[in-house]
């Protein structure tokens, strides 16, 4: 395993309009009046291969934002985030699942979006089903799942043998201890 994360002066800025809605830099220029807040500022660290790191901090400290920058979900507005290795992430309460789709369909979609061909994603479905422990519910729409079932499916789809960097946010709280 040779995954690593290097952050150097990373910052993420959120811009708001007059109604306190988040806007993009272009939209902020159009609307002129607004405010800004930095979700992260001057974050510098290195995580080497084989390390397990927990982020601790009060609510609103920027833990989720930092994980999203590492995952490539959010861009850094300043500084540089360098990530090496295959990344799998479970960062939203919805665990990246679309409610109208079945467990099988979600697992296929997540497999492709995380870097597998459709054929490979389909081939992995048996493993995902088994690891999720969902049984027949795997064929049902995710809208009928409990939060714990969603988390199990998201985790089973994300944690693959070739994953080198696994990013978990509060979603793991919904998982059973086993």
């Amino acid at each position: 395993m040779s995954a690593s994360v290097r952050a150097s002066g990373v910052g993420v800025r959120f811009l708001f309009d007059r109604d306190r809605r988040v806007v993009t830099p272009r939209l902020a220029r159009l609307r002129r009046r607004g405010t800004e807040a930095w979700g992260l500022r001057e974050v510098t660290f290195t995580i080497a291969a084989g390390e397990a790191v927990a982020l601790l901090g009060r609510s609103g400290a920027g833990k989720t934002t930092l994980l999203r920058v590492i995952a490539g979900v959010l861009p850094a507005d300043e500084g540089v985030m360098e990530v090496e290795g295959r990344v799998a992430s479970l960062l939203s309460v919805g665990a990246g699942l679309m409610a109208p789709l079945t467990g099988r369909e979600n697992a296929t979609l997540l497999g492709v979006l995380s870097g597998h061909t459709r054929r490979d994603a389909r081939r992995r479905l048996g493993t995902v089903r088994e690891r999720s422990g969902l049984g027949d519910a795997f064929e049902r729409p995710v809208s009928s799942y409990s939060q714990g079932m969603r988390a199990r499916l998201g985790f089973a789809a994300a944690d693959e043998p070739d994953t080198e960097l696994l990013l978990l946010d509060e979603v793991h709280e919904a998982l059973d201890h086993e």
């Binding site: 040779s2 959120f14 988040v22 806007v23 993009t24 830099p25 272009r26 939209l27 999203r68 920058v69 590492i70 995952a71 490539g72 979900v73 959010l74 861009p75 850094a76 507005d77 300043e78 500084g79 540089v80 985030m81 360098e82 990530v83 090496e84 290795g85 295959r86 990344v87 992430s89 479970l90 960062l91 939203s92 309460v93 919805g94 665990a95 990246g96 699942l97 679309m98 109208p100 789709l101 369909e105 979600n106 296929t108 979609l109 997540l110 492709v112 979006l113 995380s114 870097g115 597998h116 061909t117 459709r118 994603a121 998201g154």
Partner: protein, 268 residues
């Protein structure tokens, strides 16, 4: 080994997956999410244009008393391609919100989102093409060799829909309160084009202006091929294609820049 450098200037994640696989997966999931599954979906796709055309057919032939050449087919030649354009707009306005949990969870090729939305609606349009064949049979119009132009016409309609979908995705995020207004505005495009009656039945003074509407060329080209059995005129394809190119040239760079910020806009 994947390597990604994410910074103020770069956010790139090389992927081993062919883009067509990502596009197919996004489209398949979109079809399921928007149209459900099973027979009901196919029935809906088939009946949708029937009802849309039926309303206008009653309006034009009975209420307004303006019969023309095969009025039902003439209206269908406008409604069927218009369905693709308007449903693509509706899809694009919500496409990021619908995939919010994925957008917030993982990095993927978000440039494909509007394209997959239009592909979804194109599948629905494919089902409604059956209506054109049925109406041709009803009016006793035999297909000519000009029907070979049909894939080209569908392609032009698709290109226009894609070019509109990219800016509409951004509009849906920038101005979420205006989604219904934008769809209504899109519908007015149908009525400032020869949707209900063919272009040659519109006063000549208005014909030049109506031709500037990209939908006019599309509607008239479907009529040329399916009703009159001739190849479409050059302007009928050139004007919608010119609009498509113009929209893509202006909106694509905007979308490319904005898609990096999508996760901020749909934050939980």
């Amino acid at each position: 080994m994947l390597r990604a450098v994410l910074g103020a200037a770069t956010a790139r994640r090389p992927s081993r997956v062919p883009r067509r696989d990502t596009l197919a997966a996004l489209t398949h999931s979109d079809l399921r999410a928007r149209y459900g599954r099973g027979r009901a979906r196919v029935v809906k796709w088939l009946l949708d244009p029937f009802f849309a055309v039926g309303v206008y057919l009653v309006l034009v032939t009975f209420v307004l008393d303006r019969p023309g050449d095969a009025p039902g087919l003439s209206i269908a030649c406008a409604v069927v391609p218009f369905q693709l354009v308007i449903t693509s707009i509706a899809n694009a306005l919500l496409s990021v919100q619908l995939r919010r949990s994925i957008v917030l969870n993982m990095a993927f090729d978000r440039m494909l989102l509007p394209l997959s939305g239009v592909l979804t609606e194109a599948v629905a349009m494919g089902a409604s093409l059956v209506l054109l064949a049925i109406l041709m049979a009803c009016y006793g119009i035999a297909p000519t060799v000009a029907v070979l132009w049909l894939p080209v016409l569908v392609g032009v309609t698709f290109a226009l829909s894609v070019s509109i979908a990219y800016p509409m995705t951004v509009v849906g995020l920038w101005y979420p309160d205006l989604r219904l207004f934008v769809i209504s505005a899109g519908r007015t495009l149908f009525f400032v084009a020869p949707g209900l009656v063919a272009l040659d039945q519109v006063p000549e003074s208005a014909q030049g202006w109506l031709k500037l509407n990209p939908l006019t060329g599309i509607f008239e080209s479907f009529r040329a091929v399916l009703i009159h059995g001739r190849a479409p005129a050059a302007w009928e394809l050139a004007i919608p294609l010119a609009w498509s190119a113009l929209l893509l040239l202006t909106a694509f760079p905007l979308y490319r820049a904005e898609q990096r910020q999508f996760a901020k806009m749909v934050e939980e």
